[in-house]
Amino acid sequence: MASLVEVKNLVRKFGDNTAVADISFTIEEGEVFSLLGPNGAGKTTTISMLSCLLEPTAGDASVGGFSVTSQPLQVKNVIGVVPQEIALYDDLTALENLMFWGRMYGMGGAALKQRVSEVLEQVGLADRAKERVKTYSGGMKRRINIGVGLLHRPRLLFMDEPTVGIDPQSRRNILDSVKELNRQGMTVLYTTHYMEEAEELSTRVGIIDHGKLIALGTQRELTKLVGEMDTLRLHLNDGDDVASLADGLRSLPEVIQATTLDHQIALIVPDAQEALPPALSKSMDLGYKVRSVDIEEPNLEAVFLHLTGRALRD
């Protein structure tokens, strides 16, 4: 059987800027497929082309067997879309929003009412359904934003960075519901720049950077790319100049790459046991106190670092 999504040499340019540069991949029925990449990588642009909102500059894609360039209406019946930016009517209640979007998907009557209350239950907002969306917290809005995409029980759900800027509890709720939806048989295309999310959810991951798909496979396949590297994660104190410490650590022969994130420094090293003592003493020499250390098996962050020389988040 053909794949649910087949992307063939998609290109999208905005003037001189090439947002998506010739990418190809497939998504099989039942997968959670993640596009992992930093800001501006081209994730949203790819999803917009797959959901027929943007015309590709070149190439084509089929969704459920329909071409996104020539059969947009059929494609739209197959997909549900959860846009990156919350797209709801603030002055309407959650219930009214869901009813409106359900009707836009051609639903109506008792079936729609029934489905709306199911979805409200699913996103955990049934008790606040009659309040205006503008009174909601960011996390609650995100959950309704997702609920809209689920209304018509699409075969394929596009979720574009659905956890950006929300509290850990709402994030947990969202990740769990993605897994639950997938368990019920929904195929999901998920974009994120959090490698933890991609690791937790995905059957396969495509790593995207500067509009190009630079790696594609299961987590195991991808981490093999890094070889036998480990990650040493050093946690420092608030106010420490992690950037200058990272520069210092990079000069150690045992360290391949060093990146910073908040008060952490991630070191890519061939052998964690061997690299730890010199890394700690170097830190001490430079006047920094390391609060704790994690030793991690190769992960997608390391893969990205390995492939691009940059951290996923800067």
Partner: protein
């Protein structure tokens, strides 16, 4: 339900949730009508009624009915309401109305009494002659009051009360009948020619042009529609703005990600502007007829006129959205457009401008609407209104056509 209505009703709901928009849509025109009405003397402070309406009465009838109608206008009861002048010559009286000196002329022709009351000798009544009310349409309320007085007089004649009473007095005085015959005579008369509809006995005519000077016009009659249309133009710009707002907020893209065509989304948004505009106009019209006792004319014709005015206005709202780049641009240009259109369209003073500006004013729904409402207030029918209605719909289709072409060129309605 069709996508057009789904989107249109959603917009109606969203708009009526927005308190700031509601204030501008409904409260502001109402308050302005009231305020400007007071300033220009639309109300008599104590009663809210008009007074001292200048009327000229020409009585060429030597019978009792003509006399009593003429006396009615000069009677103590109507003393405050009318400022009556008597004039022997009908042509001269008409001229007074044409010049704007008086609001209406009541012309009672010779033989009026005779045409209604049977001759005491022969028992025959003469050929029907009509009382004419010659009105200044620029003063629909004042001249309407004069007309109403004549109508009520005639309807009393018809039911036999005045005619019977006077006729019986005459017959008794001449000795033609005996008191014992009175009931039967009255019966005969009330089935006579006077039984015809009052429209046949009264003839209403309007002057060709609005003759009155600016401060003699009844201000409420044009202020209420004027202010309603002024703010209607602002409402349609809010509607146009919502298209750009939705594009910015991503709900437009989300609508396009459902199985809905770009053209359907645009039509839906246009319906939204339309629904909101019609709701606003109808609320204002109903409220002003209840609170200001304003008579807008035949309700069906008023509704059809509103549908047409809002169509023309919605065209402008859509065009504004098509040419503007940002939502705030739509708002500021929309505000300017509303004021400009109100100004040249006669919303503030009701008159028609002549010259190049007058021609230009024909691009505004306000100008056509102002004419339409004036026609309805003076009693014109839907049929008389057809040219106005046609003009407004043509305006709508031309503007929507241009707007859609611009939207297409900008690629805003991809797929």
């Amino acid at each position: 339900m069709s996508k057009l209505f789904i989107i249109g009703f959603k917009d109606l709901r969203v708009m009526f949730r927005d308190r700031a928009a509601l204030i501008l849509m409904l409260a502001a025109p109402f308050v302005l009508t009231l305020g400007l009405g007071l300033v220009t003397g639309g109300f008599n402070q104590s009663t809210g009624a008009v007074s001292n309406i200048p009327v000229v009465v020409v009585n060429n009838d030597d019978g009792m009915l003509g006399q009593s109608l003429a006396n009615l206008f000069a009677s103590a009861e109507l003393n405050d309401l009318f400022d009556v002048t008597r004039e022997p010559d009908a042509a001269a009286a008409r001229r007074l109305v044409d010049e704007g000196t008086t609001a209406a002329a009541v012309l009672i022709p010779a033989g009026f009494t005779g045409s209604i009351i049977p001759d005491s000798q022969t028992g025959q009544s003469g050929d029907l002659v009509r009382v004419e009310v010659y009105r200044d349409p620029g003063r629909p309320v004042s001249s309407g009051v004069a007309q109403a007085v004549v109508e009520s007089f005639i309807s009393q004649v018809e039911t036999g009360r005045i005619g019977g009473q006077i006729a019986v007095e005459q017959l008794l005085a001449s000795g033609a009948i005996l008191p014992a015959d009175i009931p039967q005579v009255v019966q005969t008369m009330s089935h006579g020619p006077a039984g015809q509809a009052d429209r046949d006995i009264i003839q209403v005519r309007n002057t060709a042009t609005d003759a009155a000077g600016p401060n003699e016009i009844d201000p409420m009659a044009f202020l209420a529609p004027g202010m309603a249309m002024l703010f209607l133009m602002y409402t349609v710009s809010l509607g146009g703005r919502s298209i750009l707002d939705e594009r910015r907020e991503g709900t437009l893209a989300r609508m396009l990600s459902t199985p809905t065509r770009g053209s359907q989304v645009l039509t839906g948004k246009t319906f939204g502007i339309y629904f909101v505009g019609v709701a606003q106009m109808m609320i204002l019209i109903v409220a002003s007829s209840l609170l200001f006792r304003l008579d807008w004319g035949d309700p069906l014709a008023v509704f059809v006129l509103v549908l047409s005015i809002v169509a023309g206005a919605a065209g402008w709202g859509l065009l504004l959205a098509a040419v503007a780049k940002t939502p705030s641009q739509v708002s500021s240009v929309g505000m300017a457009m509303a004021l400009l259109f109100g100004l040249i369209g006669g919303s503030f003073f009701g008159g028609t401008i002549t010259g190049p500006l007058g021609t230009l004013s024909k691009i505004t729904p306000n100008s056509w609407g102002q004419d339409g409402f004036a026609m309805l207030a003076r009693g014109d029918s839907l049929v008389d209104l057809l040219p106005v209605i046609a003009a407004l719909w043509i305006m709508c289709f031309v503007l929507v056509g241009v707007a859609v072409a611009i939207f297409n060129r900008k690629g805003m309605l991809q797929r």
